[in-house]
Each structure stands twice: as structure tokens, then as C-alpha cells.
Amino acid sequence: MAEALQQLILDTLDTHGTIRDTRTLVIPGQKEAAASQDAQVSILGALNSLASRDMITYTTHETLSHVLTPEGAQIALEGSHEARVWAALPSKGEGEPVSPAELKQKVGDEAAKVGQGRAFKNGWIAKEGSGLVKLALSIQDKTQLDMREVDSTGTLKDGEKALAELRKRKLIIQRKGQWFAVQKGPSFSTSIAKLETDLTVESLTSGAWKTATFKKYNFEADGIPTNGGALHPLLKVREEIRNIFLEMGFTEMPTSSFVESGFWCFDSLFVPQQHPAREVQDTFYLSDPSVSLPPPKSYYERVSKVHEHGGFGSTGYRAPWSDAESRKLLLRTHTTASSSAMLYKLAARCRGEADTDAVDHADLAHEHGKVLAQTSGGAGSVPSGSVATGQDDGFRPAKLFSIDRVFRNETMDATHLAEFHQVEGVVADKGITLGDLLGFMKVFFEKLGLENLRFKPAYNPYTEPSMEIFAFHPQLKKWVEIGNSGMFRPEMLEPMGFPKDVRVLGWGLGLERPTMIRYGITNIRTLVGHKVSIEGVEKSPAVMF
């Protein structure tokens, strides 16, 4: 069919030299000229194919024509509503009049409703008792005839006014149409040479490629979609940030403990027991299991003492201390709970526990996986040169990071989920200052594409000073808060056993927010959770900050 049509075009050109209007062509297998738009679409396909071989050239002309709406198409097929109503009724005196309810059953709600009015207006039907009967003996269904005319010619002989009326009745709509004028091209011929579309193994073997003519490739078309898998966009951002930490010499902390106790999640961080973050409105507490085993005894005592009575140069909170509050199990509200456990482990040798496996609490090693690499100086290690006294106090510097899930008892909305990912970095060393924290932030966030930073004083129970980090966001073109940072409080570090001169810097940020900005997502539920579209994952671009 496609070839026959192409041949027809070539033959017509050969005979007449040109085709002024492709609507005059009679497509092979059809009886009438190709007036309809569908026919012109087929002709366009043939023209493009021939034009790609330079056999013809053509120009496009636009027309306005009309096509039927689904309702119009139904009328063309079954008659107008009024005609169907008329047809459904008995002639006057020739049967039981039809009640409106019965009419609805016969012709459907819509036809009954619209058709009755029109049929009355045309004088086709009349009321008899409570029912309806035919009044006219025969009718001419003008609407149906009009529909059929529009369907075949795209217009009406009656002219624009009639068309406008039908458009108003939503029976037809206007559609742009095309027709073409065709001339001979530079390679005009009436015979269509078979063109090769691709280089094949057969043509290589036979050598046919040397003489074959190749079809022009359409460089505008898309390639064939690949069928590989895809990684989730949030986890692509996670990988990028993990790489930044690794580039900067950070060791990843074990964080595989969603369940924490009040002790590790809050108390060990010097978060007061009466802090609002610990209330049931904000934190998921567990009903089963609900109580932790006792934390390491001597550490627990140092922590409870610094809260309740002070110590290590602090007045403490001087508020009542509750063992039960400390032992409550919960879903961690931040990964800083894991950082705290790691720092406690890092301080093991400072506490005089030479081997970290021998901490007064063997579970910790199990729970937090392998003993942190940095603490395993080994028996052959000698004192660090930075220790002024020349005595090894057991401290080893560490740079640690983690990116993992945390939980908040939030009501979910477009920007809040009950679970999200926290990015956290910790640097422990002697002789480091707030200036180092600023320097670190600068390098870290530059790697994330944020170059202009400002720091605002803030309050956080476990860091002092605490600094909110603001950045001028190049995509959002405004200052946005991007994270929190600070220096861990002595009341947190000294009970762990760290020497006084050890400073620990920390910072944290959410993983979701930079990801949402990166991908221009405004509703977090389209990024995390089961409502995420798989197609969205497949189409998420790679991340290079």
C-alpha cells in the first residue's frame, strides 16, 4: 500500500509534471479523492519517504477542516437524538404511548433528554396522556446528514454559519489539516530503487554494501531506549557525599542500630532529660522491647552525675535524673547517637582500657560492628608527638562520618517524613579550633557546589558553640540553612574519658534537602517511600556536585 502510493505519486508527476493539490489524488484501493485528513497523513508518509531520496520536493499547505466529536460520530452512525426519540415512539393511534421513563430505557438518558425537546420543536412528536407518540409520519434527519457530510468532506455545503452551530452543539470540532503540492526532485525517476536501511552481516559477506544505496538516516529521531536498571536518586546523592568524606580522609562509622536507648541517643550527648526533643510528640518510643539493658556502669554514673550534679567544670542541669528515662528504648532521632558510641569507643584507651574489646561492656563491640580502625594503634604504637607531656594518654585523632536513616514522630507532609537520612561528620583531635571547623565546612561544602557560607550562632544541647550553616544557593538564588555544626561540649566528652585538650568538631545535614534541590523536587513523598515512581528513578540524572 505504501509502495503503491509512492508509485502513484511518481506516476502522476511523470504524467502531469507536478501535483498541485494532493487532495485530488485517489489513493490506490480507494474510490474517491483523498480529501480526508487521514488520507493526507498517509500521503505525507509517502512524500517524506520519496523526499528523503531526493526524488521529489513538496510544499505544505494548511487548511481548517472539521471532524466529528464522539457524540457527532454516534449521530452519524445511529441518527440524531431527536430522530432516535421519534423512531422509538409509536405512530399516533397505533400503539400505547411511551412514558418518559420507558423512553429513557429505550434510547438512553442523554438522547431522551436532548432529543425530546428537539423532536417537539420540529413537530415530530406529541404528548398523548402521560406518554409520547409520533406526530410526523416521516422525517428527514438533517443532523445525521450533516454529520455524514462533515465526516466525509471535512466541511458543509451550508457554510460557516451551519458549522458554527454544530460546533456549539459540540458535535464537531475544528481541526487543522494539511495538503501538499509536489514537484519533481533532483533524483526523480518513476522506479523506486530498493534502499538499504542498515549495514548487515550479509552485505558485508557478499560485498553488496559497495553498490547498495542506503536510506538517509533520520538524525532528528531518538535512539532506541536502553534497558538497563537504575540506582535511586537519593542514594546517588548519598554516594557522592560519601565519596567527598572518603576523599577527605574520613572513616565511615557503623550506624546499624535504629533502636537506641535514651542514654545513648540523648543522655550521653548531654541532652537534658527534660528536653522537648525527648517528648513523645517528637520521638518514637518502643512498646516492645521498651527497656534497655544497663549501659556501661561507670560511664553511666559519670554521665548521670554531670547532668544532675555537674562536674568537669560544669554546673550540670541540676534537674532530677531518672534511670527509667535513660533506659527507655526508642528509634534514634539522629545518627549522633552512633557518633556518641563511637567516640566512647575512641576514648577507650584514654580510659586505660588498652584493648577496645575489653571495654566494660562487651555488647558494644557486637552492636557497632568492627572495632573502629583508628583506635587500634596496636601494642607497638608509641606516644603521639603532639602530646606535650611526652606521655601517651591513649588518644588518637579520628575523622568519622556516617549517612543513615533517622526517625522523627512527625505528621507527614510535602516536606516532612517520619524517616529521613542524616549526614554527619566528626573530627576529634588536639589543637583544633572553631577556625578549623569553618575551614572544614568551606572545603566540604565547596565540594557540594556551595561556595558562599555564613555561620549563625545557635543552640544545640551537645555542642557549644553551635553554628547553623547558611549558604547562598546558586540554584535557589537565596540564603538557605544547609546544616548544623559545632564543637562537642566538655560535659559530653570528658565523662567518656577524653583528655581535656581533645576537641571534637561535628556537623550534620539532611540528605533529602540537597537531593530535592538537586532534582527540583518539591514533594518529599515523590523521593522517598513506596509512592515513588519507578519511572522517576529510571529517569533521574547522574549526580556530580
Binding site: 572513616t251 534537674a319 514522630n409 569553618l438 543552640y459
Partner: protein, 637 residues
Amino acid sequence: MPTVAVDKEDLWERLGYKYTTEEFDKLCFDFGIELDEDTTAEVEEAKRKGLPTERPQLKIEIPANRYDLLCIEGIARALRIFLGKDQPPEYKLVYPPGGEDNLLTVAVAPETKQIRPYFACAILRNLHFTPRSYASFIDLQDKLHQNLCRRRQFVAIGTHDLDTIEAPFRYEARNPKNIKFVPLGKDKEYTAEELMTVYESEKHLARYLHIIRDSPVYPIIYDQKDRVLSMPPIINSEHSKITLNTKNVFIDVTATDETKLGIVVNIISTMFSEYCSEPFTIEPCKVVYSSGETRITPDISSRPSVAHTSYINSCTGLTLSSSQIATLLRRMSLPTEPSLDNPAEDILVLIPPVRPDILHECDIMEDAAIAYGFNNLPERFPKTSTVGQPLALSKLSDVVRLEWALAGWVEVLPLILCSHEENFEWLNRPDDSLAVKIANPKTLEFQVVRTSLLPGLLKTVRENRSHPLPIRIFETSDVVFKDKTLEKQARNERHAAAVWCNKSAGFEVVHGLLDRIMAMLEVPRIGSTDHKARTGYYIKECSDPTFFPGRAATIYYRAPPKAGKLSALESLKKDVLHMPVDLAIGTLGILHPSVLEKFEIGYPCSAVEFNLEPFQKEMHADWTEGDVKSAKPPPVL
């Protein structure tokens, strides 16, 4: 963080300068508070429309531990000092004529121990309230009640017109049936018992009723003539209420915690003492406990504390002198005195009663750094030299993620919390009592921490009906099991799981995915009856109600033998019975149609899920600064 609304014009007047929004935003940023909203535009808009309006306000966010900034009086005072326009005020106790003997006294009855044991009070003399300062006074009480006082649980404040009542006062705790008075805003007497019902329907008070409702005795304060002052922490009496005309204010504070008691009475009395005819003076009272112990309250003495120049410099990276630091601290409302012994190093800081947030020298150091300006500190890159290292488990997870994505599967990220039925019933699994259960979820469907990755994957399939088939998705993430041997009574376990959904179930498809990852992890496939193989994995048919009968299998892994790591039973199995020690690490199969129905999936699915942890590689110990191995002896030639 609490937000305080202050009158904009009043604040400009107090600060002696009309700030633009940008200028004020910058000042707030440097000082550590945050301008949240300026209602000026809103007010102008309403004015244009002829609507009734309030005066323009600034809404300022305050750090949660700065109770001294919860009112315009405190904010303006602190900012003026920060800007160098004022010196920190000296708050003074002024005794009544006749001195200590003439102090107003409050006797605390022993019964109060059962419900709210601590009491403090203060008197502000010769005040002059304006409508706005009166409103600010009420607002500060409310801010304190909501924040530090934890919705009046820990501390409650009552304020009274001292001229309507007669000292001495009595703080008691009585049976609610025996308490009767006209409460604030009512015109008749109620017993305390009745009030518990009356206030049930008054929303602003109903939320405090639980604090005392079930106690056999309720706290109550009387004057000499048995007139009620207040019934903390619920309501004051109508009789003693303060008005715009009140000249002398009596403040009562009751608490369950003595530290917070002191903080609250200090903040409220120091903040509003500026309206006394002699500003910043407070008349103390004597509180007599049943033990005979007496306290003069409020205690607004400064707490002397020593800050060290070397410490502050070592934390900030600066090289400031003690006098430079003292200047910075004064701008943060911290008066200092030079130390006599070691003036170059020690700075005597007199921590005022309005700064209970200062617990440690580090808090003083922070104030010095804020006054210096965080953004003015020298930036430096830490010398700390360490080698980076990923976690073995993360590395393993990444291998699985990458290999499966390369194999054509799409990674998804469902939630970790799910409902009990999704985790158990819908998978045809009985509750094995291994899942961690949540006590207080706001979102009802968060009942348990998942013990399987399947519910999340199946919900993802359900929500992606419009995705062309086949659907191939996977996740590598943690599930949680209860574990009584651990301190936290639970442990995470890293799982890998995948679901295939298509017009046919395709057991062999997920099986292929398993084979692929095992091949990539160099774990050989071995026969299920092969007892000799050193290491490997195999699958063996099992019956599991999650899966279709005859289309389910358990995945077994035989780890390479490690010396000395076998338990007695394992050694017995291995050495005596010659049975391999194989670990069941997971399952795979065609999902049972009843499971599909529960998850509303209309197409057959197969799934695989297994524990990744046995495949972790051991990581090398890092080399870090300070780690030096002792030299070996040189080779002998």
C-alpha cells in the same frame, strides 16, 4: 525554638534606631536570634482595605535556652548591650524598711511535697504598667510556661496585685473538696473538684488539668485572711488579679524542680523590674519550709566563674588578651572583673541571674566567639591526618546495588516503618515476636520496624500500576530484629531483596538474580547434598506460606571455614557427624496469590530476600597519626 512577637516601633525606640528589615536581619543573625517575620506589609495592606489592624510586629526566633530573650524587654536590653549602647544592668534586691525581719513571708506546708514541693516568690514595687507592657508581662509568663516549664508541668507562675492581699501567705496542698474560691474570670465560687470539670471544656486550661487531677491533694496559696491567691499550676484567683492599675506585684512560683524554680522567678522578676520606680530593683520574700529551713527568694546574685584566656583562644583559634576577651564578654551581658592572681590568663566572669544557660566555661567561650563574630574567625584547614575508609557493610551493599542495577533492576527506597499487617498477616506470616513495636506513632500505619524488605517492595509495585511490565525492583537496606542479648535489645540486619512482577511469575528470573550476585561475590553454586564443598550456596525447596506451594526455596550459605570460630555444637556437626555448617540466609519464590491480593497486585510476582551480612569482608585497620611500629633490628650481614 520559641518565637517572640515584639512591637516593631517599641523595639526601634528601645534600640534608639529605626532598622531596615535587612539591617535588623543582619543584627539578629550575628547575635544568634532569627527574624522570622515582619508584619509591616500585612498591616499596611489591611489598613488600605480599611480593616482593623494591630501595630506592626517583628516575630523573632529565640534559642531554646535563652529564657532572658523571651520578651521585648530582654531582647532590647541584650541587643543594646551587644551594640555597645549600654552596660549590663546590675539587678538589686531592695529590702523593705526594717530589713530582713520585715520581709513578706510565705510558709510552705509539708503536704506540698506530695505534689509540687518547691516555692519561690518576689515583689515588684511601684510599677507602672502600660497596655503594651502589661501584655508583654502576660506573654512572658506564657512563653516560660510553654518552654522551660514544659506546659506548667515543672514550674507554674502566678501574679497578683499585692495591695489586694495580706501577708503572711501560706502555700499548702489540700484535698480538692476543701478548696473553694472564685477563679480568675469567673463570678462565683467553685471547689477545686468542680473546677476540674468546669475547665474540661476550656481548651486553654484543660491541657493543664492532668498535672494535678489524680493527686489526693492540690497545691493552693492563701493569704492571711484565707483568701486564695492561686491554685498552681491551673489558675489564679479573681480577687488578687493584676490590672493596668496594679502598682505592686506579687509573683508566686511553684515547681517540681528547684533549679527551674530559681530560673523562672529570676527571669520574670529581673525582666519586669525595669518598670519599677527604681529600675532593676526587686523586693525579696522569705519562704519558710516546714523543716524550718528558710530561703530568701529570688536569689539574683551573680555566679562568679573563671574563664581562661588560653582556653578561649585554643577553642576559637584567636590570640586575644584577657582584656580584649573581657570587652567581648561585656557585649554579651557578661560583666567581668580582672583576676588579681593571674590577670593575663584568668578572667573573673560574674554570670548574671538572667543567664542560666551558662553551665561551663565553654558557654563563656561561645559568647566571646559570638561577640567576635563567627564569620570573622580565622579559617584554617585542620592538620588532622587520617586515612579514609568505608564501612565493610556499605561497600558490600554498594556492590550488590551496582551489580543488580547493571543487571537491569531498578533500586527503590520504601519506608522502614510499616504496619503490623503489612509485615506479618499480609505476607501470611505469623507474628514471630521478633519485630520491634512502636508505642506512640502519630501516623497510625507506623506500628513496627520491618523485619522484611518485602512489604515495602510490594507496596512500591502496587503504587506503580502504570509502569510497563515487567517491573523489576530491588532494595538493599536494614531490617530490625529484637535481640535480648544486646544492650539495646535489638539489632539491624542488612538485607537485599528484589521483586519481579510480570504476566508470568518467573521463579527463574529472581533465581537468576540471586545466581548473578553470588557469582559477583565469588560464592560458588554447590549441590544441596554436597557435604564436601568447602564453601558455596544452594537453594532447597521449602514450604513457606508467603510463597506458592512448590515454588519456594530457602537459600543456604556455607561460609569458608575459619579456624577457631566454631561453637561446640558446630564443631560436633562438622568434625564428628561430617555435616556441613550451613546458614539459612534467605528465601525466594513465587509470591502466594493471597499475598498479592492483600497488596492489591493483579499480576504474578516472584521475590528473593536474603541476609547480606555473612558476605562482609573484613576491613584493614587504618594507619593514623600517632601509630608508629617499633623498628625491627637491622639485618645481620
